[in-house]
């Protein structure tokens, strides 16, 4: 799956390729592979209030899944399972919305906007916010959705409601809204990229063969954009599964997520517990990616 650009024969006196790739490789070895290995390892360590104790124990996993074999007396699952389920629900909801929205917007850009300059301009308009702060973009909902925000003011002024709505901000609604606001771009870019590679003659052929607009959309455009859809989906699902910043800022401290659970565990210095939790999160994410790639074989698409 390495990129297929034209390769050069190595010239005499040129640097050995591994020497060139060394600093890059070293960064990922030191700051990615070793830390991941440590997370897996420390997940099996013991700990007390003062120190981590090298050992091999399943205690952390046991503690994580304590009481998870059955529902409690109120019929609820244990904390770990309910947190994972809640995070998964957010991930699926954010995915569904960004998928439909991102696909529609990319379709408009790729097939309805006719001049290349306009296409580039509108594409850049969609991507610029990616280079600005996520926290600022979240904070910017306060003047609109707050108790005295613009939405509540308008609704009260038009007598649609007589008390301000509380669920607009610091609620599951605002968390989901923030996900859509922040991450739809991750769907638009890869889907647009796939769509731009679709041979326009195929659409004409579909039309000539009598396909309706919907039919050519469903039978030509969607299958041919699936690699973009896959890349966007993986990005959004993993980013939401591991999120703790958005839930923290937009959830008003009321909403649990796996990422936040890990963060809280580290703040109490329970590193082995956090590590075990991170391993479970990682396995969940890998399962999701595996499920998606079974639907679309990415290697055939590139």
């Amino acid at each position: 799956m390495t990129p297929g650009f034209p390769r050069l024969p190595r010239a005499r006196g040129a640097l050995h390729p591994w020497l060139q790739a060394l600093p890059f490789t070293a960064v990922f070895a030191v700051f990615f592979l070793v830390p991941l290995g440590l997370v897996v390892m420390v997940g099996f360590w013991d700990f007390n209030e003062y120190a981590l104790i090298p050992a091999f124990t399943w205690r952390n996993y046991g503690k994580l899944l304590e009481g998870c074999s059955r529902l409690n007396e109120y019929g609820d699952p244990c904390v770990t399972v309910s947190t994972y389920l809640s995070t998964l629900r957010f991930a699926l909801a954010a995915w569904a919305i960004t998928l439909v929205l991102g696909f529609a917007l990319a379709y408009f850009l790729a097939f309805h906007v006719r001049s290349a300059a306009m296409q580039t301009l509108l594409f850049v308009v969609c991507t610029v916010p990616f280079w600005t702060s996520n926290v600022i973009r979240m904070v910017s909902w306060i003047p609109l959705l707050g108790r005295n925000g613009l939405v509540n003011q308008t609704l009260i002024a038009t007598h649609l409601i007589d008390r301000p709505l509380d669920w607009l901000l610091y609620s599951p609604f605002s968390v989901l809204l923030a996900y859509v606001h922040l991450y739809t771009m991750f769907m638009i870019v890869p889907v647009f990229n796939s769509m731009m590679r679709i041979d326009r003659a195929l659409l004409e052929a579909a039309r000539d063969a009598g396909a309706s607009a919907w039919q050519s959309l469903w039978h030509v455009v969607v299958p041919l954009s699936r690699s973009g859809i896959l890349i966007g989906s993986i990005f959004i699902l993993t980013v939401v599964m591991g999120d703790f910043v958005t839930v923290g800022v937009m959830g008003g401290g009321q909403i649990a997520s796996v990422g936040k659970m890990i963060q809280v565990q580290t703040s109490y210095m329970q590193f082995p517990l956090a590590a075990a939790n991170a391993v479970v999160l990682l396995l969940t994410v890998l399962l999701i990616i595996r499920g998606l790639t079974r639907v679309v074989d990415i290697r055939k698409e590139l």
């Binding site: 799956m1 060139q20 408009f108 280079w131 702060s133 990682l282």
Partner: protein, 300 residues
């Protein structure tokens, strides 16, 4: 693209155009409101209607500091870190992409690791780096306790910090973007220019310095912009991988729960302005490089 058929708009054009317009409003509208609200007078609040102004009152408040948080120090720290991350992202991605152009044994594995870093939940990476440096701390303290005078062990702080763990955490986030962009660039790069240079007797270094680099320079500047802006706004990977000092976005995240004045909007406007400044500079530099390319007839 070229000129396409001029005909009636296809079905769905207007609804989709409406959707697109609404989406752009959705993207930019909220941020514009905080820009406006940040220029209120001293009586201003977090929501409309506007109170007083336009004034720079809340910017002056910001300059004086918000509570115990030293915004200026965090600002300078993030600026310095972003600049270093920018330089390293450009240099390391370029070198690695050059290596990938040759026969690179194990290149497939390296590419997979890079993509894995891109889609790995940031909290996991951050936790791992945090753990790593804490274990390093433990090791160093044990060593000092065993072999060095006692005051050394007491004086030792932590290996966690802006220029160690945080820098590494940022690079795991910016380098994948850098490498993927460089791949896209070299995919469209015609190797004949380079071969021609070598046929004319250029050494590999001369061919790189005088032919390849000028051709890819505008894209490389773009990689630098990615490096800076991604680092400037990074929170998730930094959160567990930084010691006592905080970067600006981390301070900002903390302030969202404690500051209830438009000062936070002023801070938001300021950081966004820095991002936009970097974007504008990038475009200027890239345009300048392209003009020089054409004027200098680098590729005859």
């Amino acid at each position: 693209m070229g000129a396409r058929v001029r005909g009636p708009r296809g079905p769905g054009f207007w609804p989709l155009a409406m959707l697109f317009a609404l989406f752009v409003l959705f993207l930019y509208g909220p941020v514009l409101t905080i820009f406006v609200l940040s220029f209120q007078g001293p009586d201003g609040g977090l929501t409309f209607p506007l109170n007083g102004g336009p004034s720079l009152h809340w910017y002056r408040q910001l300059a004086e500091g918000l509570g115990v948080v030293d915004i200026g120090a965090a600002f300078r720290r993030s600026l310095a870190l972003g600049t270093v991350v920018m330089g390293l992202t450009m240099a390391l991605s370029l070198l690695a992409a050059l290596a990938f152009r040759k026969r690179l044994r194990g290149g497939g594995a390296l590419f997979h690791v890079t993509v894995a870093s891109l889609i790995m939940p940031s909290i996991v990476v951050s936790l791992g780096i945090g753990l790593q440096f804490r274990l390093i701390d433990t090791g160093i303290k044990d060593l000092l306790a065993a072999w060095a005078p006692p005051e050394w062990a007491d004086g030792y702080g932590s290996a966690l910090g802006l220029w160690t763990s945080a820098l590494g955490a940022h690079l795991t986030w910016t380098l994948p973007f850098g490498l993927l962009i460089m791949f896209a660039v070299f995919n469209r790069f015609n190797p004949l220019y380079e071969e021609a240079a070598r046929d004319l007797g250029a050494t590999p270094w001369q061919a790189f310095r005088q032919v390849v680099l000028p051709l890819i320079a505008p894209s490389l500047v773009g990689v630098g912009m990615f490096g800076f802006t991604l680092s400037w706004d990074e929170i998730a990977r930094t959160s567990q991988a930084i010691g006592d000092v905080n970067t600006l976005p981390l301070e900002l995240q903390g302030l969202t729960t404690t500051v209830t004045t438009p000062a936070i909007y002023a801070l938001g406007t300021l950081t966004t302005a820095v991002s936009f400044l970097v974007m504008a500079l990038t475009m200027l530099v890239a345009a300048g490089l392209r003009r020089r390319q054409r004027a200098g007839r680098v590729i005859g």
